[in-house]
């Protein structure tokens, strides 16, 4: 059985590496399809049209655009693997430095959002499942439906407008405070973006949680616990919730991609200098180097988290391990 598990783990890791290689190819091809190149992006279309042939050739050689596509691809991949992610024309910084500054911000956002998602989603699931098809259940499901249906850009924009209009409070108007420099202001600036993201995350957590709780509730050991006089709340938390955690944890892990995508929107609304905003600005400025390396980093993160969720899930639940 040990070898079966080891084989499965190896297979998943190989699959993940192959998928990442595919991601690299796809990202590279996509950015070559975008109209305009690095020269038009840095000089503007009019200035680049006025270049003499020798100037243009020099610039093409400078950016490596005169190389065959395959050589460009492997050159880029080799650079990425050795930690050279390129340089941003706009900021003059290396993409590696930009990413190292932006990544912790997005990870902090993702962790806070996951916490809010669990804090909203699990109590809702407990509320709904405690009496299925009752008014309570309807309230829980309605909030879950709202979380599923209100897009984060709408919730974020509305929250920002309402709070700054009526409470005259907009922490995002000041420059961004990093976590270890000014934790107080940082938390204020992260509160709304992570609430918005977390609210969206609460929907799948609530739905998965509810059906998992309903399923566990019908099992014999729950009836036994009730029969021996354990209080209702304790049965619900200690016996039922505890056994329903595996699908909830899995669902939370699966939603990591949603978090990374949603981070693009939320970081844009609340001016949070995270990795999503870095991609968006890169796309708007047509900065190849920034976009292709950042997208690759995000995909790497996403694949890693998926892999970890998958492996954790096998470790947590003995039933999955055995089958």
């Amino acid at each position: 059985m040990e070898t079966v598990l080891a084989n499965r783990v190896t297979r998943r890791v190989v699959e993940a590496v192959l998928a990442l290689l595919g991601v690299a190819v796809l990202v590279f091809v996509m950015l070559r399809v975008i109209p305009g190149n690095q020269i038009t992006a840095s000089l503007g279309t009019e200035a680049s049209a006025a270049l003499t042939p020798s100037q243009e050739a020099a610039l093409r050689a400078y950016y490596g655009l005169d190389q065959p596509a395959l050589a460009q691809f492997f050159g880029w991949l080799g650079n990425v693997l050795t930690g050279n992610l390129g340089i941003s024309q706009r900021t003059g910084q290396t993409v590696l430095d930009m990413t190292l500054a932006a990544l912790p911000v997005t990870i902090e956002l993702a962790i806070l959002a996951t916490l809010f998602g669990l804090l909203i989603g699990i109590p809702l699931a407990l509320l709904s499942a405690s009496r299925p098809n009752s008014a309570r259940d309807a309230v829980g499901q309605l909030v879950g439906l709202a979380a599923l249906s209100v897009p984060s850009f709408l919730l974020g924009a509305a929250l920002l407008s309402l709070v700054s209009k009526y409470l005259h409070y907009n922490p995002s108007a000041q420059g961004f405070a990093r976590l270890f420099e000014d934790p107080g202001l940082n938390f204020q600036q992260m509160l709304f973006p992570s609430l918005v993201l977390g609210f969206g995350l609460a929907a799948p957590i609530m739905r998965t949680g509810r059906s998992a709780l309903l399923e566990v509730q019908t099992q014999d050991f729950v009836r036994t616990a009730r029969g021996k006089g354990v209080t209702a709340l304790r049965v619900q938390v200690r016996h039922v919730l505890h056994n329903a955690l595996v699908p909830i944890v899995t669902m939370t892990g699966i939603q990591f991609g949603y978090l990374l995508g949603g981070a693009i929107v939320v970081e844009q609304i609340f001016s949070v200098p995270g990795i999503g905003r870095q991609v968006l600005i890169g796309l708007q400025q047509k900065e190849y180097a920034v976009v292709q390396s950042t997208v690759l980093v995000i995909a790497l993160l996403f694949v890693l988290v998926n892999l970890l969720t998958d492996l954790l899930y096998r470790l947590i639940d003995p039933r999955v391990r055995a089958s």
């Binding site: 699959e15 993940a16 192959l18 998928a19 990442l20 595919g22 991601v23 796809l26 990202v27 996509m30 950015l31 399809v33 975008i34 109209p35 299925p132 098809n133 439906l145 709202a146 599923l148 249906s149 209100v150 897009p151 984060s152 850009f153 709408l154 924009a157 509305a158 920002l160 407008s161 309402l162 209009k165 799948p204 509810r210 059906s211 309903l214 991609g257 949603y258 978090l259 990374l260 995508g261 949603g262 693009i264 929107v265 844009q268 609304i269 999503g276 991609v279 968006l280 796309l283 708007q284 976009v291 997208v295 995000i298 995909a299 996403f302 694949v303």
Partner: protein
């Protein structure tokens, strides 16, 4: 979600003998409310496509700038004096067009790919699953964003970008049930009778996975509408001046102090529509799957 949907197909055999699915759909609360909400929005969108909005959605009336909701302008006007109601309805029509084209493309391509990956050997399966794995390695919105900016920006290329993101979902939900249907007696019988593979796939296997596809189409429609709106909110969706719900909310963000209705109207339209589609999807899933009656 994948597991839920996959289970539907396996239980379809005993589902057939009960009341027909559409009747069960109409009997469930969520199905009924879902049909009602999506119906209202779909009719409004159809009217907008036919040019039946009260005002021209892109006509400017500078004298009536930023007017609040009134009998003349039901949802008020924006900073250019354009009628917010007409723009919201035209915007939902645009979003819906993109979403329908995107989901149709991904449903057809994804289902066919899922059918082949489940039915044929590793020569077909390996490349299909490899592509699926690569597409699944991107966070969905990021992939849509990158694809949308790779193409020239028209409503059709945005639909194609969204379609590519959703193809792997259809592959994944159809392949599992096809794997088990392949081993079922009626498919084996059809093989023994010497039916051509295309007839077995399209005439015998496909009808049995259709319920899964239909449920997935409804849910994907709501995601596609949200994705289109998110892209246009980020400035990478349907190009202006064509009204789009996302860019309306973006414009309204700057006006929120002066004109709350410019955000409330497109927001209400999009939420109504997505709630409707989600309820319809839930209702359909329950209707096709008699065992999951507890979530109605």
């Amino acid at each position: 979600m994948t597991i839920d949907v996959a289970a539907v197909g396996l239980r379809l055999a005993d589902g057939r003998s009960r009341a027909p699915a559409w009747r069960r759909l109409l009997r469930s609360h969520s199905g009924l409310v879902g049909i009602l909400l999506t119906g209202i929005i779909a009719v409004a969108a159809a009217a907008a496509v036919l040019g039946l909005t009260p005002y021209d959605p892109i006509a400017q009336a500078p004298i009536d700038r930023l007017k609040g909701p009134s009998p003349t302008y039901w949802f008020g006007t924006d900073q250019f004096g354009r009628d917010v109601f007409s723009r919201s309805v035209a915007g939902v029509a645009n979003s819906l067009t993109v979403a329908i084209v995107a989901v149709s493309l991904s449903a057809v391509i994804g289902t066919l790919a899922g059918l082949s990956a489940g039915f044929f050997g590793s020569r077909v399966r390996a490349p299909v699953l490899a592509v699926t794995n690569v597409l699944f390695a991107f966070p969905p919105l990021l992939l849509a964003l990158a694809l949308a900016s790779a193409f020239a920006r028209t409503w059709f290329t945005i639909a194609v970008a969204i379609a590519i993101v959703y193809i792997p979902i259809f592959v994944r939900v159809t392949r599992g049930p096809v794997l088990s249907l392949k081993e079922s007696d009626f498919v084996k019988a059809a093989r023994v009778l010497g039916f051509p593979t295309s007839r077995i796939l399209l005439g015998h296997v496909l009808p049995n996975i259709l319920p899964i596809v239909i449920v997935q189409v409804t849910l994907s429609l709501s995601w596609a509408v949200l994705t289109e709106a998110s892209l246009s909110f980020l400035g990478l969706g349907t190009p202006p001046p064509a009204p789009s719900l996302g860019s309306m909310v973006l414009d309204a963000k700057a006006l929120a102090d002066l004109a709350w209705w410019t955000m409330a109207a497109p927001g209400a339209v999009i939420v109504t529509f997505v709630v409707g589609l989600n309820l319809l999807g839930d209702g359909l899933r329950d209707a096709f799957d008699p065992r999951s009656g507890d979530s109605g």
